[in-house]
């Protein structure tokens, strides 16, 4: 469980448009790494290159290397489907499958991959829902549609769905931006628990959230309007928020940007 990610010289394109340029960083296993930075600086794009979801976008392509414990995700014989089973993802807006019940939503990854034993399925679903702190709220209505849950519950359902396939890494793209403070707190607590088992990368616009949940923080920025996004620095969260080594980081964090 939980693998280290080593990115070196990574650039991502949308067609001929260079979105992020030459990013290198290391994401430690069993820790939370937060990406912060202004909108449009390529945080989400970079996150999506980590499980090869970027190439799902029409025209999306990537240059450079992403090593997952010494194995290049963009190697010649690597199947993106296998990569995505290893590196799970939670999206900005909760997106449970509308045709499926709560149970089926959590089981979807296993059922649709065909890699499960029938008698284990309900155990895995319960374990994942417990892992996402949702079990007590939904255990009596597992057969009801997942879209009937509240926004916060739906997002935890999506997290349960993502951890049910037992990935090594969990990517979260602004998982709390559509949620109220109480649901946000629930998910932040959950992130704290999940980092015992997974490597977690989270994109957030909320500086306090980054400070609360993450061990390391990476600051992304645009060199200028129209230029590609770049990694400014990555360091221990404490250092980034108290004594960053780059002036731009301090300006952004203290709100003196631009």
């Amino acid at each position: 469980m939980a693998k280290r990610i080593d990115v070196s010289g990574l650039s991502a394109y949308y067609g001929s448009h260079l979105a992020i340029e030459d990013i290198s960083m290391t994401v430690e296993p069993r820790s939370v790494t937060a990406f912060i930075g202004p909108s449009g600086c390529g945080k989400s794009t970079f996150l999506r290159t980590l499980n090869r979801m970027h190439e799902v976008t029409p025209g999306g392509r990537v240059e450079g290397k992403v090593l997952l414990d010494d194995e290049n995700l963009y190697g010649a014989n690597v199947d993106p489907v296998t990569v995505r089973r290893t590196v799970g993802m939670v999206f900005q807006r909760p997106n449970p499958f509308p045709t499926m019940s709560i149970f089926d939503n959590v089981a979807a990854g296993l059922k649709l991959n065909g890699s499960y034993k029938k008698n284990e399925l309900s155990d895995i679903v319960e374990k994942s829902l417990r892992g996402a702190n949702l079990w007590n709220e939904v255990k009596d209505r597992l057969n009801k549609p997942g879209s009937g849950l509240s926004g916060g519950q739906q997002q935890r359902l999506c997290i349960a769905r993502a951890i049910a396939v037992e990935p090594e890494v969990l990517l979260m793209d602004e998982p709390c931006s559509a949620l109220d403070p109480i649901s946000t707190l629930a998910i932040e607590d959950l992130i704290g628990e999940l980092k015992e088992r997974f490597t977690i990368v989270i994109v957030t616009h909320n500086m306090q959230q980054a400070a609360r949940v993450s061990d390391r923080t990476a600051f992304f920025n645009l060199a200028a309007v129209g230029k590609p996004g770049k990694l400014v620095e990555i360091d221990e969260t404490e250092r980034i928020f108290s004594n960053p080594s780059v002036q731009a980081t301090e300006d952004y964090i203290s709100g003196r940007f631009g």
Binding site: T99, L112, L149
Partner: protein, 361 residues
């Protein structure tokens, strides 16, 4: 005055409030005004029509509709104001157009039901025209009903899978020149007249020296049906949010399973409706049946061999005979055809509701 003089303050005249009650309310027509306008317009229209001796009741109706629009506009201008009048004008025109569209529909249904119900019974539905001279009463629609069910069923079996897969290709995989070409030809196919589709299959039939059969008719019908299925399915698949595809892909589910288990189930209600509407469209086609299925008075349950009949063909055939009983049979068959299409529509709605993404708690 004495006070003012005492205090030395000059009393200024306070400006008079305007006589209007408030600035927000104004004169308004009662809620039943449109009904009254309509009543007056119809009365005037009928009166004028009768007085001027117009023969066509359509003229009476159109004149009433025109009067309705004019009366509501003028009255509202006088009583309320210009803006309200424009609003009323637009509303009246919408209502008039709605009625103009609905009247022929109801007239059609009414005529068919009132004329068709006369001989429509169990006997009519379960007997063929075998041994019944066309100009005499008796006989039924059974052979034509069987023919329509089989031909339409076969056409659906052929074109629904092809149409569905084409739409999946266009939405999920298609890029570049091939997808553009497919889209273009689907659009062109939508406009193919049914007789052309019939002639196309007929030419193949003659070249391959095949005999007329229900299957030949189904092939022509599926040419007509396919583009409709592709178009409607395409629209439905496009409505499935991209987030669902990404959610599924991010779980490590391969693309083909994502399409099969997430995208299509989400859109299945709309896809079914589209297929049912396409069936309804081809169920009434006569031309290909005349060319390719040949028509028959006998029950032939095998769509792969021998001539068959079908409902639209039967209607045309009975109308052509030109006797009173055959007209009755034609109307009854028309009623059966309308009922068939309507049942299909109801089934489609039922499936769409049953399969629609659930929101209940």
């Amino acid at each position: 005055m004495s006070q003012a003089a005492n205090t030395g303050i000059q009393k200024r005249p306070t400006p008079m409030a305007p006589t209007r009650k408030t600035s927000l309310s104004s004169r308004a027509l009662p809620r039943w005004a449109p009904l009254a306008f309509a009543a007056v317009a119809i009365a005037l229209g009928v009166g004028t029509g009768a007085a001027a001796g117009w023969h066509s009741h359509t003229q009476w109706g159109l004149f009433s509709a025109l009067l309705f629009v004019v009366i509501s506009y003028v009255t509202t201008t006088v009583v309320e104001n210009q803006r309200q009048a424009k609003d009323r004008l637009a509303t009246s025109i919408v209502w008039v157009c709605f009625l103009l569209a609905v009247v022929p529909l109801f007239s059609l249904i009414w005529t068919t039901v009132s004329r068709g119900a006369k001989i429509l019974d169990g006997y009519f539905l379960t007997h063929s025209m075998a041994g019944v001279p066309g100009i005499e009463a008796g006989g039924g629609v059974y052979h034509a009903l069987i023919g329509t069910l089989e031909q339409v069923g076969l056409a659906t079996l052929i074109s629904a899978p092809i149409g569905l897969l084409t739409a999946v290709y266009l939405v999920e995989y298609g890029k570049g020149a091939l997808a553009k070409a497919v889209t273009f030809f689907v659009d062109v196919m939508t406009g193919i007249p049914s007789i052309v589709a019939g002639l196309f299959i007929l030419s193949i039939m003659l070249m391959a020296q095949l005999q007329p059969s229900g299957l030949m008719g189904s092939l022509a019908l599926s040419i007509l049906m396919m583009p409709v299925v592709v178009r409607s399915t395409e629209e439905m698949l496009k409505l499935v949010p991209n987030e669902l595809r990404e959610a599924s892909l991010a779980l490590g589910i391969p693309k083909w399973r994502t399409i099969l288990k997430v995208v299509i189930p989400t859109a299945i209600g709309g896809i079914t409706t589209g297929v049912m509407l396409a069936i309804a469209r081809i169920a009434g086609e006569t031309a290909p049946i005349m060319l390719l299925v040949f028509g028959s008075q006998l029950i032939n349950t095998n769509p792969f061999q021998g001539a068959q009949s079908s409902l639209p063909f039967y209607i045309w055939e009975q109308y052509k005979i030109g006797s009173e009983p055959s007209y009755d049979r034609a109307w009854a068959a028309a009623l059966v055809l309308i009922a068939f299409v309507m049942i299909l529509n109801l089934v489609a709605r039922g499936i769409a509701r049953w399969k629609a993404p659930k929101t209940g708690r």
